[in-house]
């Protein structure tokens, strides 16, 4: 990667055809781990799309009225129900953590161990907050409102199944991300990326590019939330 001079290669669509037709690495200047993460994220996009599209299809074709999310997800605040309050806070928490991750990646590029580590840790805490709020939201719906995958008091029965499936799958992604963020925060602070120490599961040397790969995953989780927020909560 280091001996490759990207500036000398043609750009744009011409560059694309020469890159792919070069009989070499198709993704010039892209670390293989990063390319693999992109491919994984693309396949994850397909899964989330399948969930959201089937949800949309069912919601568009049920004859019973769909539960109105603005009221279902309202939160009592100072005695008055505020629509979507918790969801709005969750959105802001996730965007905040996405921003701190972007900064962590930036400082990772600059091999700034301290700043990178703190921002990764901050991101992990943001993610943890998000998961905590989601757990609160779930328990409120399950124990207080009696929402079940097969029934709910608000309207169309399919609501529960889609809600738990989609937000649950997203929450699982966030949780896995949080675990990795904590592990990588530790690795950054330990200086593994500076010394190139080899990891537990791989013989490859540790490198700050791992922070960028982790960042891609974390931004993707935020990206999915953008779509869930729009299609599930705002619709």
């Amino acid at each position: 990667m280091s001996d490759l001079n990207l500036d000398k290669l043609p750009g744009g669509f011409k560059g694309m055809s020469t890159d792919i037709g070069s009989d070499q690495t198709a993704f010039k200047g892209v670390n293989w781990g990063k390319a693999m993460m992109w491919i994984f994220l693309l396949s994850d996009t397909f899964i989330f799309s399948c969930f959201l599209i089937s949800y949309m299809k069912v919601r568009a074709s049920v004859v019973e009225p769909w539960p109105y999310p603005s009221e279902v997800f309202a939160l009592e605040f100072m005695g008055a129900p505020v629509p979507l309050l918790l969801i709005a806070i969750m959105t802001f928490v996730l965007i905040t953590s996405s921003g701190t991750m972007a900064l962590a990646v930036k400082y990772g590029y600059e091999k700034n161990k301290k700043m990178c580590g703190w921002f990764v840790l901050l991101t992990a805490i943001g993610g943890l907050t998000f998961v905590g709020m989601q757990a609160f939201e779930w328990s409120k719906l399950i124990f207080h409102e009696g929402v079940r995958p097969w029934a709910n008091p608000f309207g169309a029965e399919q609501f529960g199944a889609f809600f738990f499936m989609i937000t649950g799958f997203h929450g699982t992604h966030v949780s896995i991300g949080v675990i990795f963020l904590f592990i990588f925060a530790r690795k950054v602070f330990k200086g593994d990326f500076d010394t190139g120490k080899r990891g537990y599961f791989t013989t490859m040397k540790s490198d700050y590019v791992a922070i960028e790969i982790l960042g891609l995953y974390w931004h993707f989780v935020d990206l999915v939330w953008v779509f869930i927020f729009a299609f599930f909560y705002l619709w």
Binding site: F92, S98, A230
Partner: protein
Amino acid sequence: MAEAKKEQTTTHKIGIYLWIWGLLFVLSFFSYMVDWYNFQGLLRWTLILIFMFLKAGLIMAFFMHLFWERYALVNVLLWPMTAIACFVGLMVAEGKYTVFSRMFYFFVGGA
């Protein structure tokens, strides 16, 4: 000099991240306002979709660095997503047909 140039392709000024971060906050706030003011119908959908695509675009382009990647990678990602958008369009039409036939056989009755 060559070294400095190589660095520039991988690291970016902090300002760009802060700008995008701020924009994401503003856009999220706007999309929350869509619900707050209870816009309905076509206006609601247009606003929701505009804010959604702007946010998704900003995250992908700058936070995920796609803006700086070569077209070989960008196109591998964007064309499948375009196919998904077509799939969404197909399923919207299908959903409309399903609800139409449900209502039709409920009120008019089948053979």
